[in-house]
């Protein structure tokens, strides 16, 4: 297992290096001159622009700028925002908690609902529970998060007045209320997909010969389902977790934007809209690294569930 972990970590290095280079180059490809952006976009004298370029090493070659940036990144310094003149790392740190809480709540909501629903739908295949769950999951899969969000605001904030429409609270507890609607909106897609995977995994698992062995042992149905079938049924769900997390991170951007939450997603959108490239590249690098690490953790989880993978 340790060797497996080490091997997977080692494999991450080149991927992350190339990805970071892509991120860096993408930010350099833009038609706008960073120096002009930094100067506030107004007409500025060439001398001032030259000074800005020299200060931020924009006059150096792209590879050397990249190396400088990466060296900083490794030490936790992702550069400085053109607009706000703040350190990108500090900006990320300030906005991370909201995003983390949002994502954590969404994952919890999605999985807690999806797995039982999926099991139920699989065991009662063809029943009204199954048909209802499958149809609703289609709707949930098909609704853009910003639409779900807007409908939620219309219903729960404007009409019923139960939940705040926009913004976030001052602390974790207050946030539970503020983030409830955004996290449900964000969770729906994952919930639907997870429900479908659990359902099909369960149906498949219940057909396997080892389930017949379990039946022969005279085990109660509960044990057969929860102990023998469920683990196997969850394997396909774990397999697509990487995909799900990708959706989740993408969805976070939209949800934060829709609900005016001050998290990483809205930071990214604002930075892109205002051509604040240090923020764009720093934040992208951060998200990509996090994404890769989560995927690695999921792979390890897969190894924990499935001994055949662990020992391969």
């Amino acid at each position: 297992m340790l060797a497996y972990l080490a091997r997977r970590l080692l494999q991450l290095v080149p991927v992350l290096l190339v990805a970071s280079f892509l991120v860096f180059v993408a930010a350099r490809l833009t038609p706008q001159d960073p120096a002009v952006v930094m100067a506030g976009g107004r007409q500025t004298s060439t001398a001032v622009l030259e000074a800005i370029r020299a200060k931020y090493h924009l006059d150096e070659s792209v590879p050397s700028q990249y190396l400088r940036w990466m060296a900083g990144a490794l030490l936790g310094d992702l550069g400085e925002s053109y607009r706000l003149k703040q350190g990108v790392s500090a900006m990320i740190a300030a906005r991370l908690p909201v995003s983390l809480q949002l994502i954590a709540m969404s994952v919890a909501i999605a999985l807690l609902a999806a797995v039982p629903l999926g099991i139920l739908a699989a065991l009662r295949k063809g029943s009204w529970v199954d048909i209802l769950a499958t149809s609703l999951s289609l709707a949930a899969l098909s609704s853009p998060v910003f639409l779900t969000g807007i409908l939620g605001i219309l219903l729960f904030s404007y009409t019923l007045g139960w939940l705040p429409a926009l913004g976030s609270g001052r602390n974790f507890a207050e946030n539970l209320r503020y983030l409830l609607m955004p996290s449900v909106a964000l969770a729906l897609n994952m919930l639907a997909l997870s429900m479908r995977m659990t359902r099909s995994g369960m149906i498949e698992a219940m057909r396997r010969p080892y389930i017949q062995t379990a039946i022969l042992k005279g085990l109660p149905r509960r044990t057969i389902v929860l102990k023998h079938a469920l683990r196997n049924a969850l394997l396909p769900l774990v397999t697509i977790t990487g995909l799900q997390i990708g959706f989740l991170l993408s969805g976070t951007v939209l949800v934060e934007y829709t609900f005016g939450l001050g998290g990483l997603g809205s930071l990214l959108v604002n930075a892109i809209q205002t051509s604040d490239y240090p923020v764009v590249q720093g934040l992208t690098l951060f998200i990509v690294s996090a994404f890769l690490l989560i995927n690695l953790l999921v792979d390890l989880l897969y190894g924990i569930i499935d001994p055949r993978i662990r020992q391969a």
């Binding site: 396997r208 010969p209 080892y210 017949q212 039946i215 022969l216 085990l219 023998h228």
Partner: protein
Amino acid sequence: MSGLLSLRGLRVAFAGEGGAAMAVRGVDLELEGGEGLALVGESGSGKSATAKAILGLHDMSSTAVTGSVRFEGRELLELGEAELRSFRGRGASMVFQDPGTSFNPLLRMGEQVAEAFRSVAGLDRKAAREAALGLFSRLGIRDPVTRYAQYPHEFSGGMLQRMMILLALAGRPRLLVADEPTTALDVTVQAQVLLFLEELKEELGMAVLLVTHDMGIVAETSTRIAVMYAGRIVETGGTAEVLGSPAHPYTEALLEAMPRPGSRGTRLATILGLPPGVYEADSGCPFFPRCRHALASCMDGLPPSVEAGPGRKSACFRTHSLSLRGIA
């Protein structure tokens, strides 16, 4: 004489894309306590579906099982889920074809064995663990404590099948149904597993219904044989008698198609054509189109199963007028 197991007019039909797929079309079969009976047939003959029906293992949402399955006088097809659960493992038990898929790949082997002792034999956690470790030792597994914590993929196919057999016998059932238990194994391992099964049969005295396609295995293991064709039993009798002088043309054809010592350089007899499909309705003897001894009259209805000697039956119109070749 009250038998252990009695099948009467057993039918199994699966819901398929072309309607009801009739896998078993009326099987009558008797099994005495402690007896070894082999159920033989080619693929699609309905032998596995018959075996699963005895244990009530068909998925009832898509399968219709009708007729009668009596075990020690009790009608199994009328049992509820709870009664079936206590019957399985204690009354009758089963071993499947592929030991590699018979065990849950994600659970430790020891746990899977101990679980059976807890459930079927009613042992507590500690006693079940002891029983499982004892089972490991009995199988000659070195270092049973380490192996207890290993997973199915770390065991060989032959070992898994032997474990499966012992698991199936944990509740001391009077009948063991073995569905092609050695088909997935190599021939040397097959011999080991068959021998193992034979020893257990002697030791525990349970009846064994062995489902197989291999006449050699039948001859080695079972005192009686039932030959299945297209969802029906066409011939039953003592193994030596049936193989030595078959009463049904299908049995004869099967035996003649087998390569055997001394057959080199000769043409093997073959059975032309295909068995009737699972959706096809009966018309005359099902073997008629492929039968070398068929007469035009064989198309008139289903041949009844008739006496063909002491303890023997054959479902052929010409049972008494044919003299068929067997193997010496």
